[in-house]
């Protein structure tokens, strides 16, 4: 027993069922926020999976490009010029295009992202991509298919695994699937294909050789990226952008976050979780204050200050935030694992998100507390007799 009686804690734990409801409500709000933010981040993460799995230190893109699905080509000459910069070891051009894939089973078509690369460059690190896949890529009209593409593209991977020849067409040109890899759908593309530079130009007859979409630069081992980047920006024509890998990733993310409504939609979802949480916590705290009004009035009569009692309500809010957050966090970890397994989206808990949601929970409880304490003024010590 303390001299200072832990009022807030005692008040809260007295009504076990109400406390449970409060905790369930806060956990629910937290789960909502976690899921929305988790989906958003995982979708953003997915959109840069390809960027991250490209082996390169510096990336060249046209300033008119906005994202992988909206690339503007630039002369391959710029890439050659970068070879002159000290520290550069090798270069690799990448072509990007959107083609119409015909589902080999149902025969309908669907837009697919086509990545053109020189098979000898071997710049992609995607799981499932083997040496012999690159070799097969050299064959005429042979493509590699992303087995994490959406199922609407047809049972390509199943057929391929079963040893069947998978033949279909892109933009009307007959092609054959020569191998598979794993990348995954993004906002912009439901599926992905890798083709050789040559085949790319065959499929997209309108595209010119020498006009590329991404230039990948690899530096000599042990070379720092920043000085090389600075040198490129300094000495090379500024009609292309020179990105470090991180900048390249952020450039793509930034497009999805700020130039589309996607970030907003998920923020809205998380915001709804936040509001739901405020309403629930407010309800709990308000009822708690209202139910204990005679007790608060008695405390006031005994000379407890308003500040002291406000403190009690805020302590309750903070306690609720803490104990409501933990189960929410735990449940979310489980849900993330289940989601990741079911959707092949890269959903996982990050320290940053756990912190964000925790701070949001505290703010949420605090706001509710601030509204609920107004009820305290109804506790009039003159009315207790």
């Amino acid at each position: 027993m303390f001299k200072k009686v832990p009022l807030a804690w005692l008040q809260l734990t007295r009504e076990k069922s109400r406390l449970l409801i409060a905790l369930a409500g806060i956990s629910f709000a937290d789960i909502l926020m976690f899921m929305q933010l988790g989906f958003r981040d995982s979708l953003f993460d997915a959109s840069v999976l390809m960027h991250q799995q490209m082996e390169g230190d510096i990336f060249l893109v046209s300033p008119q490009s906005t994202a992988l699905i909206a690339m503007k080509s630039f002369p391959e000459r710029r890439l050659f010029q970068s070879l002159a910069v000290e520290g550069v070891e090798s270069i690799a051009p990448v072509y990007i295009g959107l083609g119409l894939w015909r589902n080999p089973d149902e025969r309908n078509t669907r837009s697919i992202l086509v990545i053109g690369t020189d098979p000898v460059d071997r710049i992609f690190d995607f799981p499932g991509l083997e040496e012999e896949d690159y070799d097969r890529l050299k064959l005429e009209d042979t493509v590699l298919f992303d087995r994490n593409s959406r199922p609407e593209f047809g049972p390509v991977a199943e057929w391929f695994d079963a040893g069947r020849d998978v033949e279909t067409e892109i933009d009307g040109r007959r092609i054959e699937v020569g191998g598979t890899f794993e990348l995954g759908a993004t906002f912009g593309a439901d599926g992905n294909l890798i083709v050789s530079e040559l085949n790319f130009l065959r499929i997209f007859a309108g595209r010119d050789r020498g006009l590329i979409d991404i230039g990948v630069v690899q530096l000599e081992p042990g070379t720092a990226v920043e000085p090389v980047l600075a040198a490129m920006r300094e000495n090379l024509p500024d009609d292309v952008w020179y990105f470090s890998k991180e900048e390249f990733v952020n450039w793509e993310k930034n497009y999805w976050q700020s130039s589309t409504a996607i970030g907003f939609i998920f923020a809205l979802g998380a915001g709804m979780g936040f509001v739901v949480g405020i309403v629930i916590v407010y309800q709990i705290l308000y009822t708690d204050v209202a139910d204990h009004l005679p007790e608060y009035a008695t405390l006031k009569a005994m000379g407890y200050t308003d500040r002291y009692l406000l403190g009690v309500v805020f302590q309750e809010a903070i306690i609720l935030a803490f104990v409501g957050y933990l189960p929410g966090l735990g449940i979310c970890m489980v849900l993330y694992n289940m989601t990741a397994a079911a959707t092949s989206l890269p959903v996982f808990m990050t320290v940053g998100r756990a912190t964000t949601v925790f701070i949001l929970t505290v703010v949420m409880c605090f706001v509710s507390g601030a509204v609920a304490v107004r009820k305290l003024s109804a506790a009039d010590p003159a009315d207790i007799f």
Binding site: M1, K3, V5, T13, E295, A301, G303, Y304, A382, F385
Partner: protein, 368 residues
């Protein structure tokens, strides 16, 4: 001795509709250290209002109200709050904190005191032991009976040793025996600490614990004739008071003032409310001989009235030390009271017989 509370010319109004309604009129009352005052009156007469005003729970704006020497007229909320920490409150419905243990409830009064936790615990334990709940420190109020709850509430009201204790109908939620125990406890603990107690009640059975009884009627403070007489004549019944309404009056006497002169016609019956009254025999050429001293709740003058046409056989005066106050009832009213009520007659005879058999005073007892 400085009064703990001094109420002077206090008026109080509640807002009503667009205007306001006066509920307390020209209240004058002083509460002295160590004194137990009972405030009684019909429901709605303004008892609670007066109690909350004295308890610094309401702001007042007319008259004067001093608690511990501090004027409350137009006092700030903060000042009232600080004063409240020096007062103990006891409620009809106990108002215990259900979510705290008994010990925590009592300790909640010590939050504002500058003392070490160990000391607070000790003080709590000691007081709970004193009220017979030393072993219930860790119980919750819901596990206690009504009387036990009120004991906890009393401990909470007294643990910080306030000089003023206010109780509103502390026995109303208790059966009569428990109620008595509880007020006795309040009285004894308060007397031990020298605290003044103001108890609002209309429970007649506990009136006798009071040092002083005051009554509110329609917002005005008056002497509690009825209660004083109940104490003097315990067997008198409510219905007789109805007949008495308006037929008695209080008389104030200065120290040493003569109330009855030997040889006068016997025409009035007195019940002592305050002060000490002395029956004396005036003997020529020597100081008056003191026959007996009479105190609060005793009465005199009845014997002359029981035998029509008799004269006073002794002189009664107020003692030299303090003023006195008595309720005076005329012959007719007294006669009807006695005639209508066997019990009253029995009570009067009882006191008479007691006086006559008093070994020291017996033979000299005057037929006042």
């Amino acid at each position: 001795m400085d009064a703990i509370a001094i109420v002077e010319k206090l008026n109080y109004y509640y807002p009503e509709g667009k205007g306001e309604r006066q509920v307390l009129f020209d209240i004058n009352l002083s509460i002295f250290p160590g004194e137990v005052i009972i405030l009684t009156g019909e429901s709605g007469s303004g008892k609670t209002t007066l109690l909350t005003l004295i308890g610094c729970l309401r702001s007042m704006r007319e008259g004067s109200l001093k608690i511990f020497g501090e004027e409350l007229l137009n006092a700030s909320e903060k000042k009232r709050m600080t004063l409240r920490r020096r007062i103990g409150y006891i409620f009809q419905h106990f108002n215990l904190f259900e979510f705290m243990t008994v010990g925590q409830n009592v300790q909640s009064s010590l939050v504002h005191e500058k003392m070490l936790p160990a000391q607070a615990r000790q003080q709590t334990q000691d007081l709970l032991t004193a009220v017979g709940l030393g072993d219930r420190l860790n119980s919750y109020p819901r596990e206690l009976s009504g009387g036990q709850k009120q004991r906890v509430a009393i401990s909470r009201a007294l643990v910080h040793e306030p000089k003023l204790i206010l109780a509103d109908e502390p026995t109303a939620a208790l059966d009569s025996e428990t109620g008595r125990d509880v007020v006795n406890l309040i009285r004894n603990l308060a007397k031990d600490k020298g605290s003044a107690v103001l108890i609002v009640t209309h429970d007649r059975r506990i009136l006798d614990i009071a040092d002083r009884i005051v009554r509110i009627e329609d917002g005005k403070l008056i002497t509690a004739y009825r209660e004083e007489m109940t104490l003097a004549l315990p067997t008198i019944e409510d219905q007789y008071f109805k007949q008495l309404e308006g037929k008695y009056q209080t008389k104030d006497f200065d120290p040493g003032e003569i109330v009855i002169d030997e040889g006068d016609d016997a025409d009035t019956f007195y019940v002592i409310v305050e002060g000490i009254f002395e029956a004396v025999k005036i003997v020529p050429d020597s100081p008056p001989k003191l026959l007996r001293q009479m105190h609060k709740n005793e009465y005199f003058g009845e014997i002359g009235l029981l035998t029509p046409g008799s004269k006073r056989t002794a002189t009664v005066r107020v003692s030299e030390d303090a003023p006195g106050k008595a309720i005076a009832i005329d012959r007719e009213t007294f006669a009807s009271l006695v005639k209508d009520s066997e019990l009253t007659y029995a009570a009067v005879s009882h006191q008479l017989r007691k006086r006559l058999t008093d070994p020291e005073m017996g033979e000299n007892d005057p037929n006042v």
